[in-house]
Amino acid sequence: MGKVPFGVIVASHKGGVGKTTISVNIAVALKLLGYNVLLLDTDFTDPNIGVHLGLEDTDAGLLALAAGKITASRAISVHAPTGLHVLSCELEGSVAIPKLVYAVRLFNILLRSRYDFIVVDTPPGSFPISIFNKFTRLGKMMALIITTPDTTASTAAIKTAMMFDNANVAHELVINMDRKRRYSISPKEIREAYGKKAIAMLPFDESIPMSIGERIPAVLLKSRSGFSRGIIALAKIVAERAKAIADKDSKTGD
């Protein structure tokens, strides 16, 4: 049996907590660590990853691929500065959410691809996790739940955690935009609600909106900032997790 990509789903019920920013930067960080990475934008109504990376809008992307109209190599764009592969929705027809069968077909294609990692950015809220079933059954997937240190986002994160629990997907919590305010929810409180410690705590960082404006991911633009160092550390944890699972699989053997 060939190697299967490891899926990293970035999700939250609350909007605007930094899913897209973190997906883009983790994908770039994994790429910088030498892995083969595909960044997948499953925001069917509002694909944003292209905007973050300065890629041109595509008229033949995820939807066409899922519908079987084009090949993967045609649908995927390459982010020239890093060589990162990106698959997003075309804007035309983006209002129509693809049918579940399309999604399943898409994931079958992706499962057979040669990527080490597939980082998946999602729209806010719940989504049909069943489309990831094959990844889940292989155990080749983890979710990063993004929250900010306030009540609504944290409550939403617990909901997201329950959604992943129901689907049997391993998940970890990432706290973003930490500003250490007196009225921020403390990591301890969040840990008590979520049940375990957050895997990463990323600071609020002025260079993030700037990097989005410049369309250069923060880990490239400001590689030494607290945010970038946090992302790189997180990418390493994810890589270790994937390796541990792969090692375990090869031991149990097929």
Partner: protein, 264 residues
């Protein structure tokens, strides 16, 4: 009697400040003397009751719609004087039938509120009910992703013949930010106001109170109040008219001055 003026608070991008705006805008309209109902129709991540610290409650918007309850039975009266129909926190997003929704919104339209303010989840969950709104406000932050998404939303509203305007939130006046003019050009719809980023907002959420009430003259509060004043002047006459007076009484010079200050 005049029917309520119904405003949809929306955004295509998440987390731009819809709920914050909906809550504070409602309270600001109330302070102008209007009768206001705030509907939390965010079925993914309802937050109005958390933001206002409302007491636990037994009829939520979804129950009210499913159970065909009256609007009166379903509202919570708040200390701020606005009425709220709260949204239910649950793991699964409910699916509502268009028929139930229509029936409920018909009832809402027949109430004696001056303004119906509806907070929503990102995007347009039920396109068929757009016909119940008089206007949609699109909240954006002054950056590319948010504004590009707003362009698409404007197109969808235009197709549905729904009047729409933009409110810019969390402005920090940084060099890399889009300016009001940039945004107006890009989205080709009117920008009603620019609300600054203000520490008062996270603090008010923590305190579970409306920011406009917590610090009446803060930068955030003034900007929201200015937008409420705009509605008092443009559509206020539809309601009981108290608003126009209150708006004018307080408005006038102060409004003009604020406009000047805002343009800096």
């Amino acid at each position: 009697m005049a029917t309520p003026y119904s405003i949809r608070i929306s955004s295509q991008k998440g987390g731009v400040g819809k709920t914050t705006f909906a809550v504070n805008f409602s309270v600001a309209l109330r302070e102008l003397g209007y009768k206001v109902i705030l509907i939390d129709s965010d079925f993914v991540n309802p937050a109005v009751s958390t933001y206002l610290g409302l007491d636990p409650h037994d009829i939520w918007l979804v129950d009210s719609i499913h159970g065909r309850k009256s609007v009166n039975e379903s509202v919570v009266h708040t200390a701020n004087g606005i009425d709220v129909v709260p949204g239910k926190l649950s793991v699964n997003v409910p699916r509502l039938s268009n028929r139930d929704l229509d029936a409920w919104l018909e009832k809402l339209k027949r109430t004696d509120y001056d303004f119906i303010v509806t907070d929503t989840q990102p995007g347009i969950a039920y396109a068929d009910v757009l016909k119940f709104y008089n206007e949609a406000l699109i909240i954006v932050t002054p950056d590319n992703p948010s504004c590009i998404n707003a362009i698409r939303m404007v197109n969808r509203y235009d197709k549905a013949h729904l009047k729409n305007s933009v409110v810019v939130n969390m402005a920090r006046h940084r060099p890399y930010e889009l300016s009001k003019d940039d945004i107006e050009d890009a989205v080709s719809t009117r920008v009603l106001g620019v609300i600054p980023e203000d520490e008062l907002v996270p603090l008010s959420i923590y305190e579970q109170r409306a920011a406009v009430e917590l610090k009446r003259n803060g930068r955030f509060s003034s900007a929201v109040r200015r937008i409420a004043n705009h509605y008092a002047v443009t559509v206020g006459g539809r309601g009981r008219g108290i608003g126009i007076q209150a708006g004018d009484g307080r408005g006038g010079k102060i409004n003009a001055l604020m406009r000047i200050l805002h343009l800096r």
